[in-house]
Structures are given as C-alpha cells and as structure tokens.
C-alpha cells in the first residue's frame, strides 16, 4: 500500500496523569511493513504510549497520526488499527466466536461469522470457538483476544505484551501470525520485556525508560545476545 504518509507518526508526544509524567517527548515513525519492538522496564510508560497511539488517551502535548490521519473523531482511520492489550477486552459470558464476531460487526466486516472463524483459525484456536470465554484458560483467552484484534485485517497492529500467558504453541502461533501480517504489509508496534522474542519478529527496536526513548536500533544490524546484554545494563543503570 504505497502512501505519502508514514503508517504511524508519533511526534513530540507527552502524557501526564495529574502531575506524573508517564510519557515524555516521544517521537516515532513507522512506514508500511515496519515492525518496531519496544522494550522497557515496568513503569517506563510503554502501555501509556500504546494507549495514546491507539487513541484511547489524548496526548498532553504532541500528536499521533496513523496513515496521515488523527484517530480521534475519524472512524475510518480507527478502522485501520488493531489493539491487543494487557486486558483481554472479551466478554466472559459469550463464546470465543461470538466475541470475535461482535468485533467483526463493529468494524463492518462482510460475513462476520466466516471472518471470525478465519481469525480464530489463524491463531489456532478454532476448535474452542464455541466455548464461553470464562471457561478458557488465560493463555487461550489471550489467543481469542488476538483473533478479536485482527479480525478486520488492520494495517496497523499495536501489541502490548501479547506473549503474556501464551504457552509455547500459542507463542509460535502468534509469531507465525505476525510474520504473515508483516508480509501482507501491516505495520506493528510490539511492546515486550523479552528481548529475544521481540528481535525475532521486529525490523526496528527501541528502548523506553522513564517515559523517554533512550535507544533506537535496526534489528538487522544488531546481534540478539549482545543487544540483550546492553539492554539489561541500560535498565539496571
């Protein structure tokens, strides 16, 4: 999808809660097909940044554009984004398929039922489609949540700790899916603690500490093991 605008453009974003400054002057630019792995310790402001990028929080200063458009008040721009966060965003009383189907309808996906089943198959949980979410384990719920986030085939995918709770098979399914999404031209921001996991799928990497981006790299140019060591040194310091 060639476009004059970068897929995600974050410029000078700060966000305060009361007087606490969670994000402090962050600039990020992602082009179509880029995948940014965002590392950082707890409380670095990664989740706040993701919520600002997703349009759930307004930045105190600065601006966020997705495909050249602001998400606030622009339904068509919001339709291009998928968000996976700490919370599953699922309704426990409904089945996995009903949850994903509901999401598909929110986005106006044609034939929502078939789209929901396709999404569940992609993350390999179609066999539990008719189980109520409350009967699923944490890891399986996470998979349903991922299916919910990608059912409308977003061109920008925001993933906040998506590997949390997934077992080896789930993690592998997610990694495969992320590679497929990237091949299809989607851009991603992937927040994680786990350096090896992040570097395995990302094209770019950044480290966030105390609300600021303190280091940026291109994944092809770094050695995973050296990078992990340097990251640890950064966080401890």
């Amino acid at each position: 999808m060639p476009s004059a605008f970068p897929a995600v453009d974050v410029s000078g974003v700060s966000r305060t809660f009361g007087r606490r400054r969670a994000v402090d002057g962050v600039d990020l630019t992602l082009h179509a097909g880029d995948c940014l792995a965002l590392f950082g310790p707890n409380g670095a402001g990664k989740t706040t940044l993701m919520r600002v990028v997703a349009g759930l929080l307004t930045p105190t200063t600065g601006s966020v554009h997705v495909g050249g458009r602001s998400l606030r008040g622009d339904a068509a721009a919001r339709a291009q984004v998928g968000l996976i966060s700490h919370q599953s965003m699922l309704y426990r009383a409904l089945t996995a398929r009903e949850n994903v189907e509901f999401a598909a309808k929110l986005y106006g996906v044609p034939d929502p039922r078939a789209a929901a089943m396709r999404a569940l198959e992609r993350i390999r949980i179609a066999d539990r489609a008719d189980s109520p979410v409350r009967a699923l384990s944490r890891g399986l719920q996470q998979r349903v949540s991922i299916a919910r986030a990608i059912v409308h085939e977003p061109s920008v995918v925001l993933l906040d700790e998506p590997y949390t709770g997934l077992d080896a098979a789930g993690g592998a399914a997610l990694t495969d899916m992320l590679h497929l999404l990237r091949a299809a031209g989607a851009s991603m921001i992937l927040v994680t603690h786990n350096v090896e996991e992040g570097l395995a799928v990302a094209s770019h990497a950044a480290v966030m500490i105390a609300g600021r981006i303190v280091r940026r790299d291109t994944c092809a140019l770094v050695d995973a093991r050296t990078y992990a060591g340097e990251y640890r040194a950064l966080v401890v310091a």
Binding site: F17, G18, R19, R20, T58, P59, T60, R72, A210
Partner: protein, 247 residues
C-alpha cells in the same frame, strides 16, 4: 480535544512562597469580624418583629445563609462549564472549594429554616414549602458531587466527572422546581401573611438585614478563598509525594 491540563500550575507560582505564608488570613479575620458586628447589632440593637417576635431574628442568619449557598453553588456550576471548556485545573479547584462552602451554607440554611418553621408554622418540616424542599434536594446533589470527587484518584477524571454532574444538576433544578411547585400548589396555598421572603420591616431591621447579606457574602468568599488555597497546598503535597516515588 484539548490537553487535560493547562494553565498555571502551583509550582510555577513558586510553592515555597505559598507554603511560607503565615497562617493568619486577614481577609478571613475581616469576614469573622463583620459577622460578629452584624450579630451584635441584630441581637442587641435591632427591634424585634411585631408579628413573629424573636423568631424573626433567625432571618439574619437564614436568608443570608441561603444567599451565600446560592452564590457558592452558582460559582461551582459556572466553574464546571469553564472546566469542561478550557480544562483549566484552577476552575476545577475553585468549583470544589465553592461546593464545599455551599454545602455548609445549605446546611445552615436548612437548619435555621426548620427551626423557624417549627416556631411559626408549628412543624419542623413542611414538604409544601418550595424553598425548603428544593434546598433539600440541592443539598443531596452537592453532597453527591463531593462524594463523587472523593471516589476518584485521577485529577483529570475527577474534574470532568464532577463538572458533568454539576452541569446536569443545573439542568435538573428547573425540573425539580417545577414539579415541587405543582405538587405544593395542589396541597396548600402559600401563606400570605407569613411570606418569609417579604417581612414588613422597620428601617433598622432593613439595615441589619442588608448588613447580614454583606457579612455573609464576605464570609462566603473568605471561606472559598481559604478552601481554594488548601486545595493548592494539597495538590503540591500530592505532587511532592509522586516526585518522591519517582526517585
């Protein structure tokens, strides 16, 4: 959308200067003196009412307290609109301060109102008196406003929620007024001889009466001002706490 907070933060206005200020508040002291002077005049130098006797003296608290309450609540409503519009935390703090002071004045107004009603109408509470009933519901709404504020941690959310409540309450008041009016008009015609709002007054009484308005408005402003400054100090303290956590 505008950012959640704009405007001068207390830190920018040098918190040390604020904290270092002496406890003595000259304006507040002036308000207290004004109220004392007024009551000495009301009790010792103003003749009692021919019809109501000494019970009429309660007017000098009662009506003045209502005036103070409606002033304070008016400020809260106005500041809520300003806050939703400009997201300025000073408007939020002023709204909160006025609401608290308003609740105090409402309580005074209600208490003195029931005492007066008992003496003159023979019942502690009369539902068909519009002012009393309306004020009671206003008291509930202001109380809910303050409880709501106490239940929210995030300052931005606290400001927005309480402002939304205040604006909706401003829309609600005419409805309560109208339905209480219809309700009471059916049950009882208003007592004409003892209209509490229009007493026949001697010149001395009128002077004292107007004096009580002035004294209570000054007291109201002094209380709001003091409460506002407390709010500033509290915000500085909580900011210092957060800074402490960050280090």
């Amino acid at each position: 959308m505008t950012a959640p907070f704009r405007g001068t933060t207390p830190q920018q206005r040098d918190p040390q200067a604020l904290v270092a200020k002496p406890i003595f508040d000259w304006f507040f002291a002036f308000a207290v003196v004004a109220v004392i002077v007024l009551y000495v005049r009301a009790l010792a130098f103003t003749p009692p009412d021919a019809l109501q006797g000494l019970a009429q003296k309660i007017y000098y608290v009662h009506i003045a307290a209502w005036l103070g309450a409606y002033t304070a609540i008016g400020i809260t409503a106005l500041m809520s609109i300003v806050y939703l519009w400009l997201h300025d935390e000073r408007a939020d703090r002023l709204g909160e301060a006025s609401a608290e002071v308003g609740l105090v004045f409402l309580t005074v107004g209600l208490t003195t109102g029931t005492i007066w009603a008992h003496r003159i109408w023979g019942a502690w509470w009369v539902w068909w008196d519009m002012r009393l009933t309306l004020t009671l519901f206003l008291w509930f709404i202001v109380a809910a406003y303050l409880v709501l504020r106490g239940g929210i941690e995030d300052p931005g959310m606290r400001g927005r929620y309480s402002a939304v409540l205040a604006v909706l309450a401003a829309l609600l008041i005419p409805f309560i007024h109208l339905s209480v009016y219809l309700f009471s008009a059916r049950l009882h015609p208003m007592p004409v001889a003892l209209q509490p709002g229009r007493p026949k007054m001697s010149p001395e009484m009128l002077t004292t009466f107007l004096g009580s308005f002035v004294a209570f408005i000054i007291l109201c402003i002094a209380l709001i001002r003091a409460r506002y400054r407390l709010g500033v100090l509290r915000d500085i303290a909580s900011a210092a706490e957060i800074d402490g956590d960050a280090r």
